[in-house]
């Protein structure tokens, strides 16, 4: 990624430029010490004077009123706040009319910022005060009073907190007067500029020690830059939070959100006092100390998928290279490219008006349709369709350009969604709202309606990242997520009627991705890559979980790597220093997944026996149990030496009816499922199931309820107690034991009869059922 800078030969301002601000993707306002406010139209390359301020007004900072307040959308910002050195701030309309001037501070007002919903304004000044104002410029409160000037200020993502520097310290102060103030020493010099992004929730700070730093919202240091030659005068996050820009003397730098730098430019600008990102995040403008305004476009963004490389060569042109045959295609667009995504054999490109869908098989004839709003902030792809977050809504399109659905989340702020908070699979859409980070909204992709009863999936901790699995049938769709404690969970999302239970499968994970075709999960820890070959194993046989995980460790993965993609057998990781690392996983699990999804059990067994890996057998065992394929499961368990399970499967195989087998398989997976048996009228089997799992109360309850086998339950209970030389203490058992006489012969006969009945019932389907050999009958 690079910056393409442009700067006029002659400076338009006579004095240094103090601040800049965008109204749209192509229009910029700049203020300077020559008292002029200029408007720059980038489409026509015209610069016009909006207004000339009075001679004693020296502007310092400018911030446009936020565009989308509530649900009402405006195409362009209408008003901005301008702070000046005489201690006032001014509300000025787009046409340059001075709406209001307010005496705010003694000494200069050094910065002013609107909050995200435009309900409040914060100003900081040389007098060290931090003041909150209403939209119309009425003083609401003085948030803080300090002894030294405050040079910069930023709102927290929820507009509930304010971040400001004080000398070498950074301070986060909530608006609530009683809440705790977070304060820490951040730099070795005076901090000149701060910014807080609402999408990724990260804080940027820079100052006279010539270093810029990244912090999380708790003040944990994530990145320190190398020292620059000159103090850093400005930092600014891109709207989508993926990039940020840094300005210093003769220096403009473009950096990734993890801190490493994409590009460095050394333009002849003097110090860059302020940087602003255009609304669509494709270009930046800088206020230069020598009266210039510098513009910089971001070009040469890069997308890779399998053998295709796509590069944004110009603002309106892309180059596609097929690495296999070196064929090069050039794609041209009518407007500037805002967002693009390449995955699943399709390239989706959004410009300010249209969406282009290219197939990797044919680059010449894209499918083009018009966008509803033209402010796409996120593109997500899955195998069959793609999701656009455009303006305030979600739009799901097929690759043929057909609008499939448009899920609605009430009151969600769509502009702060990113790939970590939205996930898409062929049949399901999952969305995590910033307002309530403990819940995930789930939607059916095809209808756009909320899944199940419409209630979101909830978790006890704040969730940081979510991802839906991509392969397998839709009723087994699962979501993987990790929370604030970095514990990794998976949870089925289409489990209608039953309670949705998330199970923890890993810890200290800070990034995750599903494989693009098969349900393998990749998670990253410090210096470590983990692959869950079959995460579903936790629902089948939890003991097998450790055996189905591949762990790759190495210093080459660096401390906090990020996943770029998990396509085929290749995991691509971005290290914290920005370099890409590729690592292979064994191709066998993918092949195994392929066999299983087409029910080729024999092939699967053959594959495992030729590979001879415990991991493979463990996966196969779990998959076989999951699909109730007992013969395969038996072979697989035998191969990994779980003889007890082999024996139990043997006993299950001998069961006469389908329902008992099902119930016993479930028991093997660790869940007692008597409902199946009760539905089929197999009361005795249900009772026996509870006895087998020492669930005495439930067994007795069932027996009493159905008025049968009460003596059986009591007999087994007695036997169990005798074995341990204990006395009955359970009141209910004592109560029923009074009236019932235990007679083993009678009980055995009754059991025999029940089994016979079951066998008869199933005789049509089952072949050669033998005597029941349950573990409980020979304790």
């Amino acid at each position: 990624m690079h910056l393409k800078t442009s700067i006029l030969k002659e400076a338009k301002h006579k004095e240094f430029v103090s601040c800049v601000g965008w109204t749209s993707a192509d229009e910029l306002y700049s203020c300077s010490d020559d008292h002029q406010i200029l408007k720059w139209n980038l489409l026509t390359n015209e610069t016009t004077v909006v207004v000339k301020l009075s001679d004693d007004t020296y502007p310092i900072d400018l911030h446009w009123f936020p565009k989308n307040v509530g649900n009402r959308k405006q195409a362009q910002a209408e008003m901005f706040v301008l702070t000046s050195s005489d201690g006032k701030f001014h509300l000025i309309s787009k046409l340059g009319r001075l709406e209001k001037s307010v005496e705010a501070h003694s000494g200069a007002v050094l910065a002013g910022r609107w909050n995200y919903d435009g309900t409040a304004l914060v100003t900081v000044g040389e007098d060290g005060h931090v003041k909150i104002w209403s939209k119309s410029g009425m003083l609401r409160s003085t948030l803080a009073q300090n002894g030294s000037p405050v040079y910069s200020v930023a709102w927290g993502p929820d507009s509930e907190k304010v971040l400001y520097p004080l000398g070498k310290q950074l301070i986060i102060k909530p608006l609530q007067p009683s809440s705790k103030v977070l304060q820490w020493k951040a730099h070795d010099g005076i901090i000149l500029s701060v910014d807080w992004n609402s999408v990724n929730d990260l804080i940027l700070s820079a100052g006279e020690d010539c270093i810029y730093k990244i912090w999380d919202r708790n003040g944990r240091n994530l990145y320190n830059s190398a020292s620059h030659e000159y103090p850093i005068t400005s930092v600014s996050w891109a709207p989508d939070g993926e990039l940020f820009a840094v300005g210093s003397f003769h220096t403009l730098r473009l950096c990734d959100k993890t801190g490493w730098s994409y590009a460095l430019e050394k333009p002849n600008t003097g110090s860059i006092f302020s940087i602003a990102w255009s609304v669509d995040g494709t270009q930046i403008a800088g206020a230069c100390g020598n009266g210039h305004v510098i513009f910089a476009h971001i070009v040469e963004q890069h997308w890779e998928w399998k053998n295709f490389e796509v590069t944004l060569t110009k603002r309106r042109a892309m180059q596609v290279r097929n690495v296999i045959n070196d064929a090069v295609d050039l794609l041209e667009f009518r407007e500037r490219v805002i967002k693009a995504s390449l995955n699943y054999g399709h390239l989706v490109v959004c410009t300010s008006l249209q969406c282009y869908v290219f197939s990797t098989k044919n680059w010449n004839t894209p499918l083009i349709f018009n966008l509803k709003e033209g402010t796409v902030s996120l593109i997500l792809q899955c195998e069959r369709h793609f999701l656009l977050v455009d303006g305030g809504s979600f739009w799901l399109y097929s690759y043929e350009g057909r609008l499939i659905s448009s899920p609605k989340v009430p009151g969600i702020r769509t502009d702060i969604l990113n790939e970590q908070s939205v996930s898409l699979s062929n049949d399901t859409i999952a969305i995590k709202d910033k307002a309530d980070e403990k819940s995930i909204y789930l939607f059916d992709a095809l209808s756009g309606k909320a899944l199940g009863d419409g209630k979101p999936l909830t978790h006890e901790k704040e969730i940081l990242e979510i991802a839906l699995d991509q392969g397998g049938p839709s009723n087994e769709r699962k979501i993987a997520f990790f929370d604030k404690n970095q514990d990794l969970y998976i949870c089925p999302v289409r489990n209608f009627g039953r309670e949705q239970k998330s199970i923890q499968i890993g810890a200290s994970v800070h990034a995750l991705a599903w494989n693009d075709t098969f349900n393998m999960l990749c998670g990253l820890q410090e210096y470590r890559v983990l692959i869950w070959y079959y995460p579903n194993v936790v629902y089948v046989d939890k003991d097998l979980l450790p055996k189905t995980i591949l762990e790759k460790e190495g210093s080459e993965f660096s401390k906090s790597p990020q996943i770029v993609s998990f396509v085929g057998n290749r995991v691509t990781i971005r290290r914290s220093d920005g370099s890409l690392i590729h690592t292979n996983v064994s191709p066998y699990p993918a092949i195994l997944h392929g066999y299983i999804s087409s029910s080729k059990w024999d092939d699967a067994v053959r594959l495992c026996s030729s590979v001879k890996e415990q991991t493979m057998w463990s996966c196969l065992a779990a998959m076989a149990i999951g699909s109730k394929e007992l013969t395969t499961a038996q072979a697989a368990y035998a191969a990994i030496g779980n003889l007890d399970k082999v024996q139990y499967i043997n006993s299950i195989k001998d069961l006469p009816s389908k329902e008992s087998r099902l119930a016993n398989i479930q028991l093997l997976s660790g869940s007692v499922q008597e409902a199946v048996l009760l539905q089929a009228g197999l009361i005795y089997q249900a009772i026996q199931l509870n006895i087998d799992s020492y669930n005495w109360d439930r067994a007795l309850e069932l027996a009493v309820k159905h008025k049968t086998h009460v003596d059986t339950v009591l007999a087994y209970r007695q036997k169990y107690l005798d074995n341990f030389n204990k006395k009955e203490t359970n009141k209910r058992f004592l109560q029923y034991a009074e009236g019932v006489k235990v007679d083993w012969e009678k009980i055995n006969a009754k059991i025999e009869m029940e089994l016979l009945k079951e066998r008869e019932r199933a005789s049509a389907g089952s072949t050669g059922a033998t005597m029941r050999n349950s573990i409980s009958t020979n304790p």
């Binding site: 220096t251 220093d577 370099s579 590729h582 030729s610």
Partner: protein, 132 residues
């Protein structure tokens, strides 16, 4: 005698026997003096002209020298500042080089990772062939 008495009366005769009130010798000397004086004045005038020209010339030279001096000082300063400019440019270029070096390092790491992947894949293919 008569002449003497005349001369006593202040009257003289010249060679042409014209009556004069001044002694012809004196008159002649006076004329000579007058001539000489005129010559002298002329010479002085000439001298003045020559000296004036010289002064002008010297003045011009001085002005030119002054100009050259200023130019030289300017050039010297420019030279100094160019050295500084070069230094700044050099610094900028170094910064850009450092940036490129970092990018190179990133590419190197990626290349190494890819080499490793290739080696792994080759190993896998070999093993696979052996198994067959």
């Amino acid at each position: 005698m008569a002449r003497d008495s005349l001369s006593d009366a202040g009257l003289h005769f010249d060679e042409l026997n014209k009556l004069r009130i001044l002694d012809p010798d004196v008159a002649q000397q006076t004329n000579e003096l007058k001539e000489e004086c005129r010559d002298f004045v002329d010479k002085i005038g000439h001298f003045q002209k020559v000296v004036g020209g010289l002064i002008e010339l010297v003045d011009e030279l001085a002005k030119e020298t002054e100009n050259e001096k200023m130019k030289a000082i300017g050039a010297r300063n420019l030279l100094k500042s160019i050295a500084k400019q070069r230094e700044a440019q050099q610094q900028q270029l170094y910064a850009l080089i450092a940036e490129k070096k970092m990018q190179l390092e990133r590419y190197r790491i990626e290349y190494e990772a890819l080499c490793k992947v290739e080696a792994e894949q080759n190993e896998f293919i070999d093993q696979f062939n052996l198994q067959k």
